[in-house]
Amino acid sequence: MELTLKEKRSASSSLMKKNIRKFLNNRLAMIGLIFMLILLFMCVFAPLFTSYDAETVDFTAMRAAPSREHIFGTDRLGRDIFARILYGGRVSILVGVVGAFSGSLIGMVLGSIAGYFGGKIDALLVRISELFQTFPQMVLILIMVAVLGQGLENLLIIFSLTGWMTTFRMVRNEFLSLKEETYVKVCEAFGMSKMSIMFGQILPNVMSPVIVATTVNVAGFILQEASLSFLGVGVPTTIPTWGNILNAAKSIDVVTNYWWLWLIPGLVITIFVLAVNFFGDGLRDVLDPKQQ
């Protein structure tokens, strides 16, 4: 019995509805999503929430404790920390998102190739991905920073180069099993090009785990950016990022006497990453229940 297209559609849309319902019922995931959206909204529309900007120096209010004027206090140049967190969030989140997406893209392409063609190219790619994976990530990133140099663009390149392995593995494994499926054989028999079979026919079926992995990577890269900026090899300090705001906390003086300089940005990063992780876990429950 053939299912009509309409039936198929309604089946998939009811599945979608069911998934959405399932997601809405997941309290942690919803909390994560809400926090994520709130922070994202505040960062994107920062001027709505603060009259300060991230750069204005005010020597009359250096390192002022949180007050009504500066709700999160000011930093060493009298810049409003609340404003810096909002504007810095733009860059940090962008780094995380772009890094994770381009990493996933690389992972998908390589994974498709390895999984579809198999054989030597597969073995080689798997070997490379293993190498990348076992290398302590911080060391790997540091080496790449040494090779490519510092800077926002380079950081994005580095993140994509170090963040493709999870996706690669997933896509490859899925491809290995999916390429034996009848519909792929049929496509091959029809003489469809390999490219369109790989990316047009098989790839859409493995998107769910990829989306989940990408979400989790976004959180990971936001943390990495913060760590790198903390080490002083991340984004140039004149661009406010969450990591750069925290970088100031390196000295004992600041840790001891000016808690708002590091505690608040630290908490913001934690909350945002936590929210993304909750969201990602919720997505996983819905999209990819096999994975734990």
């Binding site: 020597f59 250096m62 140049l77 002083g232 300090t237 004149t238 970088n247 000295s251 004992i252 003086d253």
Partner: protein
């Protein structure tokens, strides 16, 4: 049977793995026991020196160095001095705190010919190195000659020694340095042109032992293992060096001067000065870092002694190289002036470097009699106007380069970016880890933030000299300043000197190749609970050697 073979295999592979790790880690295994044995050695050493059971009971002065990438050797003393190197190595003369007037040290006396070209220096008799070998005029000759060929050295030596007759030939491979002759314990140095600060420079120049270093290629001198346990000429010598951990200095038995009262000095390699001091392990420290100053001020036992030194912070403008490569952005002097007016230097100085920084408007300090009163007021309107007059392209970011990595410098650059932004100038700020190459070779910037710890004001102006190896790449070998600079270097007559300085100041303000910002003072901290310094000691720039009456420092409490 199978079980046993599996077990053997497991043991084998584990052993192999451990072996690999150990092999790759470059003797990491042995390093730990080394540490412990060194400790017992240290305890033993304590016994011989102090005659007591434990090292704690020998009154010890505690110093510390940052264990950066170097923590296995004492930094070559031809770079900047530290208290440690001034105690280990001596120079021909000992400078007073003004760094200009000198008293005899290794040398007994010197004479200068009337034309100001020939120095005749007489060495003291019976000088000895810490290994008992004689310290002679030959060592002095060796040191000067080696310095001319060394790769790592403070520029003040190179600049001065290049005035010696035949210096270039010697560098180019001549058999000898013709302007330098040794006769017994007399050294004769002939200059091509007079050089006023030659003796003060000699008062900073450490003499190194020819009998140890004679065969070493001067290019690699700074890497030599000598620096882990150097043969010394100073009042102390290195007794023991536990690389990465600490080294111990004890009085040099061959030192002919007054024996110091402090019997033992330990220098720890540490990762952070503040915590070291907080833990009570630091007796002497100098800094110009406002953050550290904050922390040290909070320590009750630390006495604060401000030191006035000549340490400039300024921007250099990337004009054009000798290769003809010209940076069009900075060519108009109004652009350069606008930058000075755009930045509130006074506010920056007082906020970022409270009590430390003083704004300058040229190489001449505002407090000097030669100061001509020119100021660059904070005036964004004027700055903007100047830029517009100069047809400045506001769509292009101004590229700024800096090499300091401390937090205050980062803050400073952020503030500069903000100020320039206020007048509509976009900025692109790069922190480089390779100041030299990026500043003088790559030159991919418009202005660069730089520091200069000057021995004298001459050094500031020396940067304008057309023959300056580094700056000719930036100022295009402009010869405009040369005559005045030579005059300043050569003349020791105060009136001429003052006149020359005024003229240089004018010229500098007209050219504005360098945008002066401020000078930064230094602060010295001494743990007065533990150390007592004699009355009347005057401290000079801690990067130079001067008389601080160290013989009479004492450990108390």
């Amino acid at each position: 049977m199978r079980k046993r073979s599996r077990f053997i295999a497991l043991v084998l592979s584990l052993a192999l793995a451990v072996g690999m790790l150990a092999g790759c880690s470059g003797g990491g295994e042995t390093a730990a026991p080394e540490g412990t044995s060194a400790q017992t050695e240290a305890a033993g050493a304590g016994e011989t020196v102090g005659g007591s059971e434990s090292t704690d009971e020998v009154p010890t002065l505690r110093l510390a160095s940052l264990a950066g990438s170097t923590s296995d050797k004492i930094d070559t003393s031809w770079k900047n001095h530290t208290l440690q190197t001034t105690l280990l190595f001596r120079t021909l003369f000992l400078a007073d705190s003004d760094l200009q007037t000198v008293q005899p040290d290794l040398a007994e006396s010197y004479e200068l010919s009337d034309d100001g070209l020939v120095y005749t220096i007489k060495m003291k008799d019976g000088l000895k190195w810490s290994d008992g070998e004689d310290l002679t005029a030959e060592d002095v000759a060796f040191s000067i000659k080696a310095n001319l060929k060394a790769a790592v050295t403070n520029g003040i030596y190179t600049t001065a020694f290049m005035y010696i007759e035949g210096a270039q030939e010697w560098k180019d491979g001549a058999d000898d340095l013709s302007g330098l002759t040794v006769d017994g314990n007399t050294i004769t140095i002939t200059l091509t042109t007079p050089y006023a600060t030659f003796i003060p420079v000699l008062a900073q120049f450490d003499i190194l032992p020819e009998h140890v270093l004679g065969d070493v290629d001067p290019l690699e001198l700074h890497n030599n293992a000598y620096w882990t346990q150097p043969v010394c000429s100073g009042m102390y010598m290195v007794e023991e060096h536990n690389a990465g951990n600490y080294y111990v200095m004890v009085p040099n038995p061959y030192y002919e001067g007054e024996a110091p009262k402090i019997q033992r000095i330990v220098n720890y390699w540490v990762t952070d000065m503040v915590t070291t001091a907080q833990a009570g392990n630091l007796d002497y420290y100098t800094t110009n870092n406002p953050e550290e100053i904050n922390q040290f001020n909070a320590m009750a036992s630390m006495e604060k002694i401000p030191i006035d030194i000549l340490f400039y912070r300024y921007f250099i403008c990337n004009m054009s190289g000798v290769d003809g490569n010209e940076n069009s952005v900075m060519q108009d002097v109004r652009v350069r002036e606008a930058i000075l007016h755009a930045i509130d230097r006074e506010a920056l100085a007082t906020s970022l470097f409270p009590d430390l920084a003083t704004v300058v408007n040229s190489g001449v300090l505002n407090s000097d009699p030669e100061y001509n009163g020119v100021t660059y007021e904070y005036d964004p309107e004027l700055a903007r106007q100047l830029l517009e007059e100069a047809n400045f392209d506001f769509s292009q970011p101004l590229r700024i380069l800096y090499y300091y990595s401390d937090q205050v410098s980062i803050d400073f650059m952020d503030a500069v970016a903000y100020y320039l932004n206020q007048i509509g100038v976009q900025t692109e700020i790069t922190q480089t880890s390779t100041g030299t190459v990026d500043m003088f070779q790559t030159r991919d910037y418009d202005i660069a933030y730089k520091g200069l710890s000057a021995f004298a004001v001459n050094e500031w102006y020396g940067e304008y000299q057309s023959t300056n190896n580094n700056f000719m790449n930036i100022f295009g070998g402009d010869t405009a300043f040369d005559e005045l600079i030579n005059q300043l270097n050569e003349s020791s007559d105060p009136a001429v000197r003052s006149e020359t300085l005024s003229a240089l100041q004018e010229m500098e303000q007209e050219m504005l190749y360098k945008l002066p910002l401020y000078t930064i003072g230094h602060v010295l901290y001494i743990n007065t609970d533990h150390v007592q310094i004699p009355d009347g000691v005057e401290f000079a720039n801690p990067w130079y050697r001067s008389d601080i009456d160290f013989e009479n420092w004492e450990i108390v409490g």
